[in-house]
Amino acid sequence: MSNLVNKRVIVPPRLRGWVLPLALLVVWWWAVQSGWSTSPLLVSPLAVWQRGVEQVSSGELWVALSASLWRNAWGFAIGASIGLVFGALLGWSRWFERLVGPSFHTLKQISLFAWIPMLSMWFGLGDAAKIAFIAMAAFFPVVLNTFEGLRSVPREYIEVARVYEFSVWQLMRRVIAPAAAPSIFTGIQLSLIYTWLATLGAEYLLASGKGIGNTLIDGREHFWMDLVLFGVVVIGLVGFVLNWLLTALEKRLLAWRDRTLARY
């Protein structure tokens, strides 16, 4: 018992998530510092840090990162908004579902990366192809979750709307949208995670121009392990921040649901 209490004092619960990464960092630093590893594949954390400082101060990081984020934002905006409309139509209209549902469900089985040759033939290797690819990555999760959200609105709620003579618009705005919102939000969150993965994939596979993916390619080609590792850290951080932002937004918009779920 006292042992347990002591542990709590050593690492406060809020900071426990840091224990593993910090421990890894120490092991990594030690492995290089002690000469245990002399492989050029494992540079010291200090070298990565210095490379990072250099990338930031020269402005190269900003150029690469802004290009990637810009692509990511466009691809996400296009893919998610088309996905939202498409998913809503699919969920709203049985007729539309019968018409395009089977095609959609077939297309979604195709690995995203399988589209890259076709996209590069249509759009070249520039931003158009990359954004098209990112938009596709954003599209599918939004469609699926919007569809699911609309279909799972309880019939009981729709009857309430009928009893109070809601118009179609009132039904959508007052009942269906809020009832489906949690599921739609899950779709958007997934889609944002996918787009960031797809942004890197696009930059790597359609290698041209600037971007954080191109920074990685650069590092690999020149065998700058410190640059590669620095790029990986930045990519991870961006993903983390995107997810954190969205979770915060979701908490605000769907506060009622958190409060509801907290009771169960």
């Binding site: 709620y157 109070y164 009132q170 649901r257 409060r259």
Partner: protein, 277 residues
């Protein structure tokens, strides 16, 4: 004060299609309900009593016969007719106030009148102070009060209640029955209560309509000529309750007597009928 309407149901029949075969749910229902009357409908499950309410509210259509409100045939839903379901069906993303106000979304009131009406109806069901609470913060009984407020906020001619207290515990149920009676007396609204609880039906109703199943028919209408407040333990009350219960226990014998040629008549043992008395 709402102007209560006369509801008359004439030769009403309703059937569902099940695997291409017609399944009769309601058969030849004749019932006239006077303005301001409180009618309870009791019957075992499957007797079509909920379907009858859904037809009156307009959530179901496609029936034979007539359902007239003040001589007008009922088509679809209307703000003149309110309903409280067994589940409260409040929207979890809205506060009590906004849930009640949703009933007024399509009313012709001004913004100020709306606010006043919502406030009045929250007070009517005794929930002052809970205006900004969310449904999950309320007990089952309180949620059902909000549902009653939402149903009444349009000042409907008729309020339909579909086993509204069925999911509540006995104490809360008895209390809400009292409250419902108070609201009915205060608002002079026509109310139709569907329940499987015979005592509830007799406590609240001016008349108790006993229905029997397969297909749903009215078996008997028992008048309850007792003054309010009704004492559940009194002799007169028990006598009426017994009369209603009698209709259930006599079922098999009566059915044989009334329709001796009916091939699928299956006398049910009395013990099978259970009521939350």
């Amino acid at each position: 004060m709402a102007h209560a309407g006369t509801l008359s149901i004439k030769g009403l029949s309703k059937q569902y299609e099940v695997k291409g075969e017609a399944l009769p749910v309601l058969q030849d229902i004749d019932l006239t309900i006077e303005p301001g009357e409180f009618v309870s409908i009791v019957g075992s499950s499957g007797c079509g009593k909920s379907t009858l309410l859904r037809l009156i509210i307009g959530l179901e259509g496609d029936y034979q016969g007539d359902i007239l409100l003040d001589g007008q045939r009922i088509v679809g839903t209307s703000l003149n007719r309110g309903i409280v379901f067994q589940e409260h069906r409040l929207f979890p993303w809205l506060t009590v106030e906004k849930n009640v106000a949703l009933g007024l979304l399509n009313s012709s009131l001004t913004e100020g009148q709306r606010r006043a009406t919502v406030r009045d109806h929250i007070a009517l069901v005794g929930l002052e102070g809970f205006e900004t609470a969310y449904p999950h913060q309320l007990s089952g009984g309180m949620s059902q009060r909000v549902a009653i407020a939402r149903a009444l906020v349009n000042r409907p001619d008729i309020l339909l209640l579909d086993e509204p207290f069925g999911a509540l515990d006995a104490m809360t149920r008895a209390h809400l029955q009292q409250e419902l009676h108070r609201i009915w007396a205060q608002e002079h609204i026509t109310m139709i209560l569907v329940t499987h609880d015979v005592e509830e039906a007799v406590v609240l109703g001016d008349r108790v309509v006993v229905m029997e199943p397969r297909p749903g028919r009215i078996r008997r209408i028992v008048p309850v000529e007792l003054a309010h407040p009704r004492e559940r333990a009194s002799y007169a009350f028990t006598a009426v309750k017994d009369r209603v219960l009698q209709e259930f226990s006599d079922r098999s014998a009566a059915e044989l007597a009334e329709s001796p040629l009916k091939p699928d008549a299956q006398p049910a043992p009395a013990a099978q009928w259970q009521f939350a008395v």
